[in-house]
């Protein structure tokens, strides 16, 4: 059975927003954005958001809920995503490798259908919304493999429909330019000017133990069930080149060095990693304030 991780990093955008307000920040760059729901929250509150990540599906979702100001999916368009369309040729065995391991035969067929339908959407915004909605249906299935008796059986198209319809509610304009890019951290940091830089860097070698719900969805988006994110991270700053503690610290320090132009730096960490992270941040900035609401949700707010 697949193992679903218990603890995920918690980014509380409402708390992050309170920090940004306190420092009069109207724009933010997040080069490790992950699933950018927190950027969507900040956008909704008028902050100009710029995100970056190495995984393509995160960036695609960002195009749906961060960059996109007004495109939504109408009922007819959702219907064209969740079900097989007559006249279109589908690669129904695209995810056959997952059959019997993670999913049923029917679910694997639907994953293939959804993949093809979403790839055929013309708008980036709609594609992002659809990917997010379908990912939630996919997570529901994975969760159900572990709690079969506790969760309702919902027909795949109905489940996907309800989740895609829900994504529409997050679309909002903030009258600012918001961007996302698929690139490594230093490129994102250098590409934008903003009042604040938010860093929530991955732990050392964390891509090796990435949550199945994350890497499998990248595999889905790439249309390759054997895809691993190790491949994507291999040559990145926090990837294989930062496998040992000194090189991880060097990688972190180089990000801080490239972030000098940002007036405010917000670094999120945990109590376990606070000692290492704090010393690196203090080397880079004169004033460092620590906000520690929880042992697994701590913020270092650094200014000059």
């Amino acid at each position: 059975m697949i193992e679903l991780q218990e603890r995920t990093r918690r980014i509380s955008p409402s708390r992050l927003h309170e920090i940004l307000l306190r420092h009069n920040c109207a724009s933010l760059v997040d080069p490790f954005m992950g699933l950018p729901t927190h950027l969507n929250y900040l956008k909704r509150h008028g902050i100009a958001c710029h995100g970056g990540d190495l995984l393509e599906w995160f960036v695609r979702v960002g195009e749906g809920i961060v960059v996109n100001d007004l495109t939504i999916l109408r009922d007819s368009e959702v219907a064209e995503i969740v079900e097989m369309l007559p006249g279109r040729i589908y690669s129904l065995d695209m995810f056959k490798a997952w059959e019997g391991v993670f999913f049923s035969e029917e679910q694997c067929v639907y994953l293939g259908v959804w993949h093809d339908n979403v790839r055929n959407l013309r708008s980036d915004g709609q594609t992002g919304l659809a990917i997010l909605g379908l990912w939630r249906a996919f997570c529901y299935w994975l969760q159900k493999t572990q709690n079969a008796d506790d969760m309702q059986d919902v027909p795949p198209s109905e489940l996907a429909w309800s989740y895609i319809r829900q994504t529409e509610q997050w679309v909002i304009a903030n009258m600012r330019r918001n961007t996302v890019r698929q690139t490594d951290v230093l490129t994102t940091v250098a590409a934008q000017k903003a009042d604040a830089l938010f860093l929530c860097p991955p732990a050392r070698n964390s891509f090796r133990s990435a949550d199945a719900r994350i890497w499998m969805w990248e595999a889905w988006w790439q249309g390759n069930p054997y895809f691993t994110i190790e491949h994507a991270y291999r040559d990145s700053l926090f990837g294989a080149r930062a496998a040992d503690p000194p090189s991880y610290a060097r990688a972190f320090a180089s990000v801080l060095e490239h972030a000098e132009a940002y007036p405010v730096l917000v670094v999120q960490t945990t109590e376990q990693r606070l000692g290492d992270v704090e010393s690196l941040v203090r080397n880079a900035r004169r004033k460092v304030e620590i906000l520690a609401p929880h042992s697994y949700e701590m913020y270092l707010v650094a200014t000059n």
């Binding site: 509380s12 955008p13 729901t37 929250y41 529901y140 506790d150 969760m151 509610q169 909002i172």
Partner: protein, 403 residues
């Protein structure tokens, strides 16, 4: 005209009243439980005001607090978590007070209003963070009470184990108190397993349902969990609530203006201490009556016209209802209810006449009307009909001296 000596004396008393408002909440002779009990009473009213602001049925916050504690016990939460859950349940909707989605002066589209309403929990958390007496976890439980296991909740769209267990238990409690009957709640929770609630939480809920029959006994507030409360902190909380109500109603600073005028006038009329206390409480709470979006704002009507009398009476009744069963603030209920009565007996809701109207209610009504009037001295025209002539003279005199 009142003699100037009386005015000076009056203002001396005003100062004493303002400085001496610590006595609004009884000195408990060093008994921390007594002070905590008064503080908890004020929190209960704050919770009820939050419910009124977002259109929840009366009493929902108290039932939610009790249900949350009952669920927490079955879930084997730590005692300090149970305490925090009680207060989080009580204050679950305080973020609605001042939220643009529910505010009087906001005209938002349905979509924007819905988005603003998503911030109710985080605004509530900010309010809780500014009440140092509350257990430490309270603010976070309030902040994340509307998050969903699958990441579709609000405000933060947290997912999976990123949502603290107590917050999810409070969300379960919310489902229980909003359901028409316990079976409906059980069905709703089962349908949402893996979506709004984690499968673990659903199992916990099922266990609770079988243990309790789907109904929670009324829980007593965990007074020992409130930290460093005193009469002064209770008064500060009351002031903060009144400020927030005014902000919500789109008239910031109104209660403070009305309070200055009403207490000065009360001093000129030598109103007794008990009545002064009732006035001081009522002046902080009367705005709560018009807090629901469905209620017409008092600013829409000439305060001296009969046209708005039904609305004013509705506000008065609602404000009185919010406090009438409250051991600490209940003494202000009669004043709050009678503040829309007319001196000549033609007012509402009870048609009280002359001396049957509490002095504090007459003073409060006249001070509110004076504050709302463009041409202030026009209040004189309502002497003998809407207001006691003596009260009008005192209000005008007090206002003139202040100017």
């Amino acid at each position: 005209m009142l003699p100037s000596a009386a005015i000076c004396e009056g203002f001396g008393t005003v100062m004493n009243n303002r400085l001496g408002q610590m006595t609004l909440f009884q000195d408990t002779g060093g008994d921390p439980r007594g002070a905590a009990s008064q503080f908890a009473d004020v929190l209960t009213v704050y919770g009820a005001i939050g419910d009124a602001a977002c259109g929840n049925p009366p009493g929902l916050a108290l039932r939610k607090a009790s249900t949350a504690v009952s669920l927490a016990r079955v879930a084997e939460c730590e005692p300090h978590e149970c305490d925090a859950m009680y207060f989080a349940g009580l204050l679950h909707a305080v973020g609605a007070v001042g939220n643009p989605a529910y505010r009087k002066d906001e005209r938002l589209s349905e979509r924007l209003a819905r988005m603003e309403s998503w911030d109710t929990p985080s605004m509530g958390a900010q309010i809780c963070e500014h009440i140092p007496a509350l257990p430490a976890q309270t603010a976070d439980i309030v902040r994340w009470q509307a998050e969903c296991w699958d990441g579709t909740g609000y405000p933060d769209q947290l997912r999976w184990h990123g949502i603290p267990r107590p917050a999810m238990l409070l969300a379960l409690a919310d489902t229980v108190v909003r359901a028409a009957d316990p079976e409906e709640a059980l069905t709703a929770v089962a349908m949402q397993s893996g979506r709004a609630f984690s499968p673990d939480m659903t199992r916990t809920f099922t266990m609770w349902f079988h243990v309790s029959g789907g109904e929670a006994e009324t829980a007593e507030p965990p007074l020992e969990a409130l930290r460093d409360v005193s009469a002064a902190s209770t008064l500060a909380l009351m002031d903060a609530i009144a400020d927030r109500i005014d902000k919500h109603n789109g008239d910031e600073g109104r209660w403070r203006r009305v309070e200055r005028l009403a207490t000065a006038s009360a001093a000129l009329l030598n109103v007794d201490a008990t009545e002064n206390e009732r006035l001081a409480l009522a002046v902080r709470l009367y705005g709560a009556g018009e807090i629901a979006k469905s209620q017409q704002s008092e600013a829409s009507f000439d305060p001296l016209a009969r046209l708005g009398i039904d609305d004013r009476a509705a506000h008065a009744v609602l404000a009185a209802k919010l406090v009438e069963e409250n051991p600490t603030l209940g003494r202000a209920a009669a004043v709050l209810r009678a503040r829309s009565e007319w001196y000549d007996g033609t007012g509402k809701p009870d048609g009280l006449f002359h001396r049957a109207i509490p002095a504090a209610a007459g003073l409060l009504a006249a001070a509110i009307a004076y504050d709302a009037l463009g041409h202030k001295d026009r209040i004189d025209t309502a002497a003998g009909t809407q207001f006691d002539p003596q009260t009008v003279r005192a209000v005008l005199e007090a206002a003139r001296t202040r100017a």
